[in-house]
Symmetry: C2
Subunit: 408 residues, 2 copies
Amino acid sequence: MKKTLIKNYAKLIARVGGNIQKGQEVFITAETEAADFVTLLAEECYAAGASNVFVEWKNQKMEKLSARFESLRALSAVEPWEEAAFSYRADTLPVTIKILSADPDGMRGADREKLTLSSAARSAILKPYNDRMTNRHQWCVAAVPSEGWAKKVFPEDRAGAAVEKLWELILKTSRADGKDPLTDWMWHNRALRDRCDKLNALGLVSLEYKSANGTDFRIGLIDRARFIAGKKCTADGKYFNPNIPTEECFTTPRRDSAEGIVYAVKPLSYGGELIENFWLRFEGGRVVGFGAEKNEEALKSIFAADEGASYLGECALVPYDSPINRCGVLFYNTLFDENACCHLALGRGYTNTIENFAAYSRSDFEEMGVNDSSVHVDFMIGAEDLRIDGVTKSGERVRIFEGGVWAF
Amino acid sequence: MKKTLIKNYAKLIARVGGNIQKGQEVFITAETEAADFVTLLAEECYAAGASNVFVEWKNQKMEKLSARFESLRALSAVEPWEEAAFSYRADTLPVTIKILSADPDGMRGADREKLTLSSAARSAILKPYNDRMTNRHQWCVAAVPSEGWAKKVFPEDRAGAAVEKLWELILKTSRADGKDPLTDWMWHNRALRDRCDKLNALGLVSLEYKSANGTDFRIGLIDRARFIAGKKCTADGKYFNPNIPTEECFTTPRRDSAEGIVYAVKPLSYGGELIENFWLRFEGGRVVGFGAEKNEEALKSIFAADEGASYLGECALVPYDSPINRCGVLFYNTLFDENACCHLALGRGYTNTIENFAAYSRSDFEEMGVNDSSVHVDFMIGAEDLRIDGVTKSGERVRIFEGGVWAF
């Protein structure tokens, strides 16, 4: 891949994704394999004014070894210094950038039960720190290829060629392949906002989903929640783009309102394993039944995280003809696949959809019906023939999606 | 390089270097570029019984960016969570493994003054934690090639070939290229111990160095200090090999005793820069004059670390015909180059040379004349014609080295 394109992409992440301001600290999480890109990105962060760029390096193979050899107790522990690092970030609110590149099923064969239990134990300890950061800091998730991931997407190609192809796709779908991605994203953010304005003008109270694949589902929306998209805003007014790419308009559903059945239309990479051809049945908001053709145990492990993991936290609308879906490739990575079609998310509900969110506390949000959990797992239900009807405050039915795409 | 050889090398580091015992924690420091080897090493650590293997990843390019863009204040800071990590290690005493692979002059062009000042500030804060670990935990330093390092050693070769050649050399000089490196090291440790037994039987009180290159130097040895080599022992009796490779027999000199001039016979890689053709003059133990044909400023920066950096902490004897010198390659890495010929070290004196060291405190050691500093910088003075005479307690002169090699 051309170095200028990759440099532009790094700049996009620093300036539009994190929107780093002079004097802000930056905290990057990335795989060791992505080191070359990360140093480029760090340089762009400093150039944007970062006072300090700290990288927490991850290594999926090390995680797999830990899961294999460490006791549940060792794996579940949050050491004092690790907690001190989370506490420091909750106090100092650095701009947080996560660079994804791990192999979508690189954890295949690891002890899933140990991972589920230890991850739940760690999340319970760390959640207060993450909660303290919610809506208060700029953050961005983006991706770069690794050999493992690229070979998963392009199994027929040799590693080098697969990586090159995945780079092309990432830059294209991230709208980072033009001459001036920063300006392209200004227009993209504006188009997404216009779409949300139209949706919000309808005053929807619920959504009903139907598809020939069996999906037959209703969900209520929170009264004060709006549809939002593209760039977001911290409580103190700093804009940022949490996802690169992003094509979705999303809102927050009422925790207790989901009813019916939904069928996934894409595999889900969760904890380094692929869950395929699965369905979920809801009653009173809660998952009461589920099944998967492949890796049903991994699906089940999501619900083991905590009580809130069995409820929904997000409804997102993405037309089936989105640029990401049109490229015809399955990324096996939620950041991309969720932007290919409509999706829902199990677990934590976003609160930045709530009008004037800075004025409310966590308990206010819970009272409004926002779900809480240590996890947030998106899964794709946007079939080619998906029909979505909205019901407005005045009881009127409005067609939102028809044949998988916007009806208006 | 053959995978079995590399696996054997990893095993050597885990079993002989760290001598990891069942249930011990392991803390590895390594460059992100060495990730493939580190996962192999971690597997060997777990197989040896480690309860937990934590890797602190380094990245030289990130360090260079920090030096360029961060303020002196940001660069000098030890954040609370970072200090908590040092404190945790001082409490829990994990087996510590350092894998070197950085480019010997990868920091060329960085702001040296900023690096020197920030490093001194950080060392002052962290020294108490490091002091608490001294002689109390197993540790090992070993190396794996990186492209930058390999290209420095073999500038005529393409990167891939240079890496392969450096692998071969590392395995050969580390005595890890045989069928059973663990047994080879048992014999190697025994041979080194025999050599030390002979030296210690002499009851030396001082050493005198002379070479045609201008070296003319005397230094006094600490009364209770012995020559030690190869495997070392923690205060509670756990053996470990702190350096792979190691060929030296070393002891601890009296802080105030160095007199005369020494000329370096190999370049010194310090802080990612090469110092070449340098000399040091001592009076009353202290450096009172110095010069270098290349990077004199980097040499000067060593003394800026603290007061003790201008005094000597180690005298090591290595014959000029050592396997590392015989391979005829300059590694630009002290771990190897110091094992090619006789050397001294500026800064911290080792205290594990003192008989019954576990019975003494830091202030006892200082009273005995052991130098203290936050740095320990070896430099090579073992010329081809080096002559070393020892003076015994009874005033007798004994020839120790003649023509750069053992005289007995």
